[in-house]
């Protein structure tokens, strides 16, 4: 693959270039700002562009946006220190092929390039569980539930009706009902009357 690499940090740029070349790819261009990168991409359309997020002039996302708008064939991979879902979500709007955290570049970048060669996309796995602190005091069974689901089952244990729960959590009754169904599914509770209530009273401890 013909690859362009852009990073305003010379040390990182150098590291990335040698790492990519070691994997047998050809680095056709390495530059230190977004503008130069965009120019090269528009002129030569390399197969892949590995872009840093924070760069002077144009940043990585802006370059991705331009490429996306120009319907260029060059695939974009963002390589960044930002471990932010929001950034990733934004970047995904511009159809990027990869999102790699710099501190996890080894071996994530290698995996990413392989996936892209196979026509797939790759986003760092460490992104999603980033916020989660150590699992709380809750039992193992509950760890499969989301926060909302956990809150709801806790409230069910205090014998609150769906309506009361909805009011307490600022949700609609319908949403609460939806969550109840999910909880029953996730915990494998038999679909009997009051089964969830009984389960909750028995298993949730105050």
């Amino acid at each position: 693959m013909k690859i362009l690499i852009a990073d305003d940090h010379p040390l990182t740029l150098q590291g990335t270039v040698s790492y990519v070349e070691k994997m047998g790819h050809k680095v056709v261009c390495s530059c230190s700002n977004g503008k130069a990168a965009l120019n090269y991409i528009q002129l030569h359309t390399p197969d892949l562009a590995i872009l840093d997020l924070n760069m002077p002039g144009l940043d990585g996302i802006e370059v991705a946006q331009k490429i996306f708008e120009n319907k260029s064939q060059t695939k974009i991979v963002l390589l960044t220190m930002h471990n932010e879902i929001s950034v990733l979500n934004k970047a995904k709007e511009y159809n990027i092929y990869g999102y790699i955290l710099k501190d996890k570049a080894f071996p994530d970048l290698e995996n990413c390039l392989k996936e892209i060669e196979n026509g797939k996309k790759y986003f760092s796995t460490s992104m999603h569980n980033n916020f989660k602190l150590d699992p709380t005091a809750s039992s193992d069974v509950l760890s499969s539930l989301t926060l909302s689901e956990r809150k709801i089952i806790e409230l069910i244990a205090t014998q609150k009706t769906s309506k009361q729960i909805a009011e307490l959590l600022f949700l609609s009754e319908k949403t609460v009902e939806g969550h109840r169904t999910k909880i029953i599914e996730k915990l494998g509770i038999p679909k009997e009357k009051n089964a969830l209530l009984i389960w909750a009273i028995q298993n949730i401890k105050k």
Partner: protein, 663 residues
């Protein structure tokens, strides 16, 4: 807006009060200064020019008058005719040439002009008929004028004068009741033009009316009032006329001694005054002659008589001719009763009686009686005595005397009431003026007050704006600074750490872990300092991530509802983000809530940010005044900085923060 409304209200009040005043004014007519007249007209107006050379005067008038007619300026012709007829009537000069002119105008041009502008024609005819002893005809002409309603000062004046003359005419005809009525009408119209002389003329008529009613004191006091006012006004003609009338009162009541003395002084006063009026000279002389003859001063009487002979000869007034003839006859009777010629008087009598001119008939009968006595023709004397009494009584029917007295008294009270009413009107008018002035004054004070208030308000507003701008700048600068620190930390420090980590040998696992932790810590600090790529990602995405992070870190549930189209600037969005951050931090720290909700709702007019929790709540007032309310003040100040209004309410069921930002 409110002050503006007040102001308008006041203005309306002023306008209304002024317009009310205007309505009252309609009763009165104000004298208007006439436009500048041409030199000929001014010349014609002057009495001297008439008196010096009447022929030349008439020539000038006819030339002027005919030019106006030739140019079809009928109104101007009528106006000059008005001036001339008034003057001739004043001098009791009924020159046939003028009468001819008036006749012609009456026939050809009068119908081209409005009735109110041609009353002088009727006035001329009335006076003419009066002078010819056709008193009834004169009355009809006067009635023609009084039938009109005035529409300006001049027409009102003319109508007042017509009533005055009508009153005298009724008196001559012996109808005292109508005379009083007309006289009072004259007073009302005179008051409407506020003409002092015109008002006092009413007294001249009352002299005769009281005379006829046998009320000597009242007749004299009316005369004195008239004399006083005419003297004050400098109206010499009417001053002497009033004195002449006073003389007639003395005569009527048989106070010969008083009459004689009074006419002597008056006659002397007149001669000394050098005032030149044929009419005055004639009438005063008549009484003077009568008085002198009464005192048997025949020689003196002859001197007076001789003085007026040429005047009487040239005078065209039959009225004064009659009086002169009477005086002459009296002199002749005294002087040489055998040769005296009273044929003029005897011939005139039937006409006077037919026209019910009782006053002069009485005078003539008195002359004839005198002659009869002198001639010792007692039968005739008895007849003339009877006739003299009859004519005197006809002036006022004895039966009616008491009634008329009561009527006059009634009018007098009416007059007083009128005066009181007039005073009231003047007072109320003054009050309205004072009220209007006060209103204007209040309005101006108010406007000045409002002006200063507005200035102060503006100053306050500016200060407020400035302080808000300052807060905004401060907040923006802080954010800028935080952003710089965040990116410095993130970009440099993290990268250096990363480089450090990569330089280690592979098996330094523990060290790697430590570096990763430091990198994550720096990330968290950096993120707290400034939300990552906020300008790129936008408010809603950043908030969603913020909520997710809070939920995960604190196991605290936050539901959200975003209906926001990114219509705020990035700086303002960041402030909204900070407000949410602050509010949520507070909820987690203090509220002890089960859950919270954040919503941003955008409509066409405003954006509403709402943060609700179901925690324990707090006393908003107290907290805001305490020292440790930095978080709340932070929210309020930030919302002010972005032009929003914040409302914080709290109870034991939870807290609600609402911020409305107008678009």
């Amino acid at each position: 807006m409110l002050t503006l409304k007040k102001y308008t209200f006041l203005l309306t009040l002023i306008i209304v009060s002024i317009s009310c005043e205007d309505k009252k004014e309609n009763f009165y007519f104000e004298k208007v200064t006439p436009p500048k007249e041409d030199s000929t007209k001014v010349w014609l107006r002057q009495n001297d020019n008439y008196q010096e050379d009447k022929e030349h005067y008439l020539k000038v008038f006819f030339k002027y008058y005919n030019t106006k007619l030739a140019n079809k300026e009928y109104l101007n012709a009528s106006k000059i005719l008005d001036v001339i007829t008034t003057k001739f009537v004043y001098f009791y000069d009924f020159d046939p040439r003028l009468t001819e002119t008036v006749d012609a105008f009456n026939l050809k041009y009068r119908n081209k002009l409005p009735a109110l502008k041609t009353t002088h024609i009727d006035n001329y005819y009335a006076n003419l008929e009066f002078d010819r002893d056709n008193v009834k005809k004169a009355k009809d002409y006067f009635l023609k004028i009084t039938a009109l309603e005035p529409n300006d000062y001049k027409s009102c004046y003319k109508i007042a004068r017509a009533y005055y003359d009508l009153s005298y005419t009724y008196f001559i005809l012996g109808d005292i009741e109508l005379s009083i009525e007309a006289n009072e009408k004259s007073r009302i119209y005179s008051e409407r033009i506020r003409d002092k002389e015109s008002i006092v003329s009413v007294h001249l008529n009352y002299i005769n009316i009281y005379k006829a009613n046998g009320s000597f004191e009242k007749a004299i006091s009316s005369a004195n009032e008239a004399i006083k006012v005419f003297k004050e006004e400098g109206n010499t003609y009417d001053y002497f006329m009033a004195k002449y009338n006073k003389c007639s009162v003395y005569g009527f009541f048989g106070k010969t001694q008083l009459k004689n003395n009074y006419i002597h002084t008056t006659y002397k006063e007149y001669l000394d005054s050098k005032f030149d009026s044929d009419v005055l000279l004639l009438c005063l002389s008549d009484y003077e002659i009568e008085a002198l003859l009464n005192e048997n001063k025949t020689k003196e009487a002859k001197i007076v008589l001789d003085r007026i002979r040429p005047v009487a000869a040239r005078n065209t007034s039959q009225n004064w001719q009659n009086d002169y003839q009477a005086a002459l006859a009296l002199y002749e009777i005294k002087n040489d009763v055998k040769n005296c010629n009273t044929s003029y008087i005897e011939k005139a009598l039937p006409n006077l009686l037919a026209n019910e001119n009782y006053e002069r008939a009485n005078l003539f009968y008195t002359v004839l009686l005198e002659k009869a006595i002198q001639n010792k023709e007692f039968e005739k004397a008895v007849f003339y005595t009877k006739e003299a009494y009859r004519t005197k009584d006809s002036l006022s029917n004895i039966q009616n005397k008491l009634e008329n007295l009561a009527l006059a008294a009634k009018y007098e009270t009416k007059e007083k009431e009128q005066k009181i009413q007039l005073q009231h009107e003047t007072i109320s008018k003054k009050n309205t003026t004072i009220f209007a002035l006060a209103l204007v004054f209040i309005a101006s004070i108010l406007s000045v007050f409002i002006y200063f208030l507005k200035q102060k308000q503006m100053k306050l507003f500016k200060e407020k704006e400035q302080s808000q701008q300052f807060t905004k700048n401060l907040l923006d600068k802080t954010e800028e600074e935080r952003k710089r620190i965040a990116s410095d930390l993130h970009d440099s420090v993290s990268h250096e750490l990363l480089a450090l980590k990569n330089s280690f040998e592979v098996n330094h696992f523990q060290l790697n872990e430590k570096v990763d932790t430091i990198i994550n810590d720096i990330r968290a600090i950096s993120r707290n300092l400034h939300p990552v790529l906020f300008e790129k990602i936008g408010l809603v995405n950043s908030l969603e991530q913020f909520i997710e992070r809070i939920e995960n870190t604190h196991q605290f549930m936050i539901s959200s509802e975003f209906n926001y189209q990114s219509s705020l600037s990035s700086e303002k969005e960041l402030q909204v983000y900070r407000i949410v951050q602050e509010a949520v931090t507070n909820i987690i720290k203090y509220a002890n809530a089960i859950a919270a909700k954040i919503s941003i709702i955008e409509t066409s007019e405003k954006i509403t940010l709402e943060i609700i929790d179901n925690g324990i709540g707090f006393n908003v007032e107290e907290t805001l005044q305490s020292k440790d309310a930095f978080g709340l003040h932070n929210i309020i100040e930030r919302s002010k900085a972005i032009g929003g209004i914040s409302v914080i309410s709290s109870s034991e069921k939870g807290t609600k923060i609402v911020i409305e930002i107008k678009k």
